[in-house]
């Protein structure tokens, strides 16, 4: 159980990265649904591979975790940690199932529902965050609240309400870059209206015609002086990927 408390992995980073993908298109005359559709459209990819770094800061202390990640659509993901403390720890997501592999015991653990709300590795992500699909238009009804200037850039402000109870966050507020359709800032709320999580895009990189967030900061609103910064050090989109990568065999290899 102890190892579950200190679990050292996240798929969420990759998925939340993808939630902020956008393309450079004009935005005049768009309603909330169309804006969300454009954000979603820019999230579509067949496969993605990246190497990433996660910096977990609490107070004056920071932990650094590095990883390699593969993903196909929003349903399949495989992450392998490469930092010395967690080297060889892997995570496999297949639709709504999540497994972790611990090399020291050669043990595969299916992450149970009771533990999905647990923060991963002291980060500001939960396993539930990792399990959330990134198709916002299907999950939420959107309302355009107006425009705001955020960090010098014009953004649409969208209010999202979940269409069903199975969604992890009942409400979201998004600041969508009006030119690039990147989710520049996102606030995630409980049904009661309590603010739970905040994400900010700190930097981005252009891959082909897409703008990808390259550095994103996440914070858990219920924790004091805590944040997690995820950054990509390399990225490849729509690359050929062995389907066998997303299997228990690959997880334990």
């Amino acid at each position: 159980m102890r190892r579950l408390v200190f679990m050292n992995v996240f798929v969420a980073a990759g998925l939340l990265f993808c939630a902020a993908i956008a393309g450079a298109q004009g935005a005049q005359g768009l309603d909330a649904s169309a804006i969300l559709a454009k954000v979603d459209a820019n999230q579509v990819y067949s496969t993605i591979y990246y190497e990433g770094k996660m910096e977990i800061t609490s107070g004056s202390k920071t932990k650094v975790k590095t990883m390699r990640a593969w993903s196909a659509g929003s349903g399949k993901a495989f992450i392998e940690f490469t930092n010395p403390e967690d080297k060889g720890v892997r995570m496999l997501k297949l639709e709504k199932n999540l497994w972790m592999y611990f090399p020291s015991e050669r043990d595969t653990v299916k992450i149970s529902g009771a533990l999905l709300r647990q923060g991963m590795m002291g980060s500001d992500f939960s396993y539930e965050d990792a399990m959330e699909p990134d198709d916002l238009k299907n999950l939420y009804s959107a309302e355009l609240m107006g425009k705001e200037i955020l960090d010098g850039r014009e953004c649409f402000v969208l209010q999202l309400v979940a269409k069903n109870k199975e969604v992890a966050y009942a409400k979201r507020k998004l600041w969508v870059d009006a030119e690039r359709f990147i989710v520049a800032r996102s606030e995630l709320y409980a049904k009661s209206g309590m603010l739970l999580k905040i994400s900010k895009t700190l930097d981005y990189t252009k891959v082909g015609s897409r703008y990808f967030p390259s550095i994103v900061e996440f914070s858990d609103a219920l924790k004091k002086n805590s944040k997690t910064v995820m950054s990509m050090t390399s990225l490849a989109l729509d690359v050929p990927m062995d389907e066998g990568r997303f299997s228990l065999q690959a997880l334990t290899k």
């Binding site: 579950l4 932990k63 297949l94 020291s104 299916k110 529902g113 009771a114 228990l248 065999q249 290899k253």
Partner: protein, 371 residues
């Protein structure tokens, strides 16, 4: 009989070690090889309350190394640790070896272990923790060496894991690695069929197969069957087990059922049931397990553990192991601090009650530096 079995085990272990390190050498210029490890220093004070209270002290210095590598479809892992144990740390190891002499097969120990001898003041120990080679071909994988079967769902007890042997000495139960050979077929992304052979099992050489699958996003289940060879007074037996876990939003109950059926009809079948669950309330994660084995010496076994983060860098763990019939009890409270000036620190206080109802207590401090 035991001597020859252990001699065979030692030879097999050394062969596995040679193969693993041979693979390591060949893999050096290939896909990847990595060396990791840690240095750990612990000090402890203990007090026995049987008769007049008798205090004792001890210390342990440990260097642990793990070598991992892969080349194409072959991967290996080799891990060892070297330890110098003093005082009650040496006595604790000596007592565990007296209870389970089979553990000694994975040790090079000085002075040499003699079950009838009293515990020495100082012990030097080289232990082979993990030495295994794996080869994947298509949907099949083959593995041999000192490693883990990891069947069953139980964290402290697991009747469905025919190969499990638990170590409870640290408070939190851990499975011990064993010399086994395994063939695995992965028919789908989320299913697997294992065939495992343990030639040196204490209860008799065992071969068994297990099928694991998931369904409906929240159900995981498996079924296993095998044969255990006759050993000592135990006859050749059929082994059968099923296990299942179901995910609920805030709790995950799980269960195991196992049966041992003597094939010569000399005794009735014996069976065991395990019920357990993991729940999360607030920031705390709770685990509870109850094992019922009506035909075993110990009919009832209970384990519970609560783990809770104090903050991002400190956590609290409270494991309790209890056997109601004998009254044996082991409880501990551990505070762990991670990455404090580059060190991981652990402060643990434990209380134990033996079958003779004698109480003892122990306070230990551990500092670990990984690399």
């Amino acid at each position: 009989m035991k001597t020859s079995r252990f001699a065979g085990s030692r030879a097999a272990l050394l062969l596995a070690a040679a193969l693993a390190f041979g693979a390591a050498t060949r893999a050096e210029a290939a896909d990847g090889i990595s060396l990791s490890g840690h240095v750990q220093q612990s000090a402890s004070g203990a007090m026995s309350f049987s008769g007049s209270p008798s205090p004792s002290g001890g210390a342990a210095s440990t260097l642990a190394l793990a070598l991992d590598g892969s080349r194409g479809s072959t991967s290996f892992r080799a891990s060892v640790h070297f330890a110098l144990l003093y005082g009650n740390e040496a006595a604790t190891l000596w007592s565990s070896l007296q209870l389970s002499p089979g553990k000694a097969l994975a040790f090079l120990i000085a002075p040499a272990f003699e079950a009838a001898s009293p515990a020495p003041e100082t012990i030097a120990l080289l232990a082979f923790d993990d030495l295994a080679l794996r080869w994947d071909t298509g949907a099949f994988a083959f593995e041999a060496g000192k490693t883990y079967a990891n069947w069953g769902l139980g964290k402290a007890f697991s009747p469905a894991d025919f190969f499990a042997e638990f170590d409870y000495s640290s408070g939190s139960p851990t499975r011990l690695s064993k010399l086994i050979a395994r063939a695995t077929w992965f028919p789908g992304a989320t299913s697997r069929v294992d065939l495992v052979y343990d030639p040196y099992a204490a209860m008799g050489a065992t071969i068994a197969a297990r099928a694991y699958a998931t369904a409906f996003d929240s159900l995981a289940f498996s079924a296993a069957a095998g044969i255990r060879a006759a050993a000592g007074t135990s006859p050749r037996s059929f082994l059968g087990a099923i296990e299942a876990t179901f995910d609920l939003p805030f709790a995950s109950p799980y269960g195991e059922a196992a049966v041992v059926l003597p094939l010569d009809g000399s005794a009735a079948a014996s069976w065991s049931l395990l019920g357990g669950g993991i729940a999360r309330i607030g920031g705390a994660t709770m685990l509870g397990e109850y094992l019922f084995s009506p035909e075993a010496t110990t009919h009832h076994s209970i384990f519970a553990q609560i783990g809770a983060p104090i903050d991002e860098w400190a956590s609290l763990s409270l494991p309790v192991l209890y056997y109601p019939e004998s009254g044996i009890l082991a409880a501990a409270i551990t505070i762990s601090l991670s990455d404090l000036a580059g060190l991981d620190l652990g402060l643990s206080a434990s209380a134990n009650r033996s079958a003779s109802q004698a109480w003892s207590g122990k306070l230990s401090l551990t500092a670990r530096c990984g690399f």
